[in-house]
């Protein structure tokens, strides 16, 4: 089974802090994704990576950056956290069946 692991289930940070959300997948998938999920808005794509060091902006990249130095790891970075970034963050990966994504359990981030 594909396993996508997000480093934290819950995270509390203060406004202005730099925040790192880590995601690791164990299936050698080429593609990795970061979404945020908010009530009434569904899942929205933040960034997508299709290879090491490659990234593409999604629907809502503002305020975020990403890093993919190794194939199995995709990091989401909030350079200066703000309260409107309080949300559930979901990481996903996909392989040869590229439109089928496997999701992690999510990280619930609260920015105070």
């Amino acid at each position: 089974d594909v396993k996508v692991t997000q480093s934290s289930r819950y995270l509390v940070k203060r406004t202005g802090e730099k925040v790192f959300l880590e995601c690791v997948q164990d299936m050698d998938h080429e593609n990795m994704f970061w979404y945020r999920q908010d009530p009434g808005l569904g899942l929205r794509l933040i960034y997508f990576s299709y290879d090491v060091k490659m990234k593409e902006k999604g629907d809502i990249p503002e305020g975020y950056s990403v890093s993919r130095e190794k194939k199995e790891r995709f990091s989401l970075i909030l350079e200066s956290a703000s309260t409107n970034q309080t949300s559930m963050y979901l990481c996903a990966s996909s392989g040869s069946s590229k439109n089928i994504q496997y999701f992690g359990a999510g990280t619930r981030l609260s920015v105070l």
Partner: protein, 115 residues
């Protein structure tokens, strides 16, 4: 941008068939239609995917008309454990590159199954 529209909620009883429709009027030629299931405090889980006509697997069927402007997820004989949010995703990962179409999740349909 292939925006999707789903009913916000649906109620059913155990043993019934449930059909959830997703509208995607602006679907592009390369777009796939993928359905996911999400339980509270978990990430979405893949259910089924199709491009056109009908697809069936061990848990669901997906019906896509010829114009592909909508799709219907069919869950046969639901049980209490099927209570979840169901998302319709329309897009093609490769169209995300180069600033093309984005992967678009609907806002989801909350299915509640009762005894």
């Amino acid at each position: 941008l292939a925006k999707t529209t789903q009913p916000i909620s649906m109620d059913s009883y155990e043993g019934q068939e449930v059909n959830i429709t997703c509208s995607h009027n602006n679907i592009a030629t390369n777009d796939y239609i993928t359905w996911y299931q999400q339980f509270p405090s978990q990430g979405p889980r893949f259910i089924i995917q199709g491009y056109k006509t009908k697809v069936t697997n061990e848990v669901a069927s997906l019906f896509i008309p010829a114009d592909r402007k909508s799709s219907t997820l069919s869950l046969p004989r639901v049980s209490l454990s099927d209570t979840a949010v169901y998302y319709c995703l329309v897009g093609d990962i490769w169209m995300v590159t180069g600033g093309g179409n984005k992967l678009t999740f609907g806002t989801g349909t909350q299915l509640k199954v009762e005894l």
